[in-house]
Symmetry: C2
Subunit: 294 residues, 2 copies
């Protein structure tokens, strides 16, 4: 095998005008024009501060799970999670937090039994197709800054479980969970959970605060002793934080030409390290670029 031959082949395979420099996905992100970015509304950002230090910022997805997200916002505004804990960390799966007990009353505005928001109407979404087959749905791509699966014939779309995805813990079906117990994916995207559980957002900063936590030794990664629980100081909406201290993030517009270029290069890495382009890509391996605003 002669790797150098593949570099040449790769350069030829890109198709468009021959690149003078072989672009990486990071190059595309770095060179993205201002209009390729959209600011996340402060009311869709949730800030979780661990008691021992460390911040996790979550973008909520009201367009996909409106009742669950409304619940979560009501819980954050009501200070429901003050003193809650991360009580479950299962390797290559999820970190989960909440009260793990139901002895605190719901704040005002919480719907105790939300509908099963596991899919939404495809109509109304602008889809940028992935361009590669997906094992879990007839279609896969990006809409509104999110990775989605969809079924054009049946008319539904859904958010998917990738690294950093945040969903709503629940008991056995037909329970849908209220939103008081949430989890974030810290391993290979458990796509088998798609359309089985309500996805409400994704971690946009600080996922490593969760992914580096010690794994629980009980079944499903629950911590054995309460002493192992990781205390949460507070979870608030960014919109509740004074503007001067409020973190702000931008997500790449997945309908932009810049994102299309990013996606193409993600599926066809051809810079110096990559001896041949894959010609395809997994939905979860195309992380939608997010950046913190100064």
């Amino acid at each position: 095998m002669r790797p150098l031959l593949f570099v040449t082949a790769a350069a030829l395979l890109i198709g468009a005008a021959p690149a003078k420099k072989l672009m990486t996905p990071s190059d595309v992100v770095a060179g993205a024009p201002a209009n390729a970015w959209k600011t996340i509304p402060a009311d869709d950002l949730m800030v979780m501060d661990l008691a021992k230090g460390g911040r996790i910022v979550i973008q909520l997805a009201p367009a996909f799970a409106p009742v669950h997200v409304a619940n979560i916002k009501a819980l954050a505004r009501g200070g429901y999670w003050d003193g809650a804990t991360v009580y479950r960390v299962q390797d290559n799966y999820v970190a989960q937090w909440g009260l793990n007990e139901s002895d605190r009353p719901w704040p005002t505005g919480v719907t105790p039994k939300p509908p099963a928001e596991y899919t939404r109407a495809l109509k109304g979404l602008t889809i940028t197709p992935l361009g590669s087959p997906d094992p879990y749905a007839p279609g896969a791509g990006f809409a509104d800054g999110w990775p989605v699966a969809y079924n054009a014939k049946a008319g539904w779309a859904d958010l998917v479980h990738c690294y950093g995805t945040v969903g709503v813990g629940r008991d056995l079906s037909p329970d849908t969970g209220t939103g008081g117990e949430l989890y974030a994916v810290i391993g290979h995207g458990p796509r088998q959970l798609d359309r089985v559980i309500a996805i409400v957002g994704r971690v946009v900063e600080g996922i490593d605060r969760l992914s580096t936590l010690p794994r629980g030794t009980e079944a499903l990664g629950f911590y054995k002793d309460k002493a192992q629980y990781v205390p949460i100081a507070s979870i608030r909406l960014a919109s509740e934080i004074p503007a001067a201290y409020r973190p702000s993030y931008e997500v790449m517009d997945t309908a932009s030409a810049t994102f299309a270029r990013y996606l193409k290069i993600r599926a066809n890495r051809h810079d110096d390290f990559y001896i041949r382009p894959a010609g395809g890509v997994d939905l979860c391996n195309v992380q939608v670029p997010v950046r913190k605003k100064a």
Copy 2:
């Protein structure tokens, strides 16, 4: 949406004789007969002990990267990694270890410039097809206990990057790396690295010792200060350890009827929690069962 209806639909969709109890993948593994398991040869097991405690056990794959694996065995036997460190931990990507410098001579038996063992001949492998589309190759499935991608027309097969996969760090192409610097995947399977880098095995125990390490803050997750390096006491082949202390593992035979059943249920979860079966599965979400022998 009426979740309970989907439970019923799921039960009907399974196809085979109606199950009295809705089996989970774990149920299949727990009920696997003895002949569905194969013992990993002690000479293909590598035991990595961290200086501050914690063991990581790696199964090597000589049938896929024979020269690189022979190098790695020579390095282990020669005590090459005694005092080496984990010096790079990049979130949702890899943990990497080695000497990070080339001032120690290679032990006897190391081929300094191995060939690019990025694929092998498909011929000679018994493939159990995944049964779902794969974005990175025309074919995907399992062979000899390993997840593989393949191209029947071109006649090649390759190991793939899933959670826990171990590969050989290298510099820019056409360098192939010698085996002295290894990495393990600690995030969503970076399949874009398939056929770009030599895969030599997988972690069968203790991946959480790597996945919970603090992330490096330099570019690509390298630790900034040497004080952050995680020292390795030793890396040895299990065959070098006295039999009484030697760990031993079994891998499910991927050509067995039990594995076929396990695979089918992985693609069609239908127990109480799963309100509808996916009807498909990602290659990296079908982890080949491995268990420790008593």
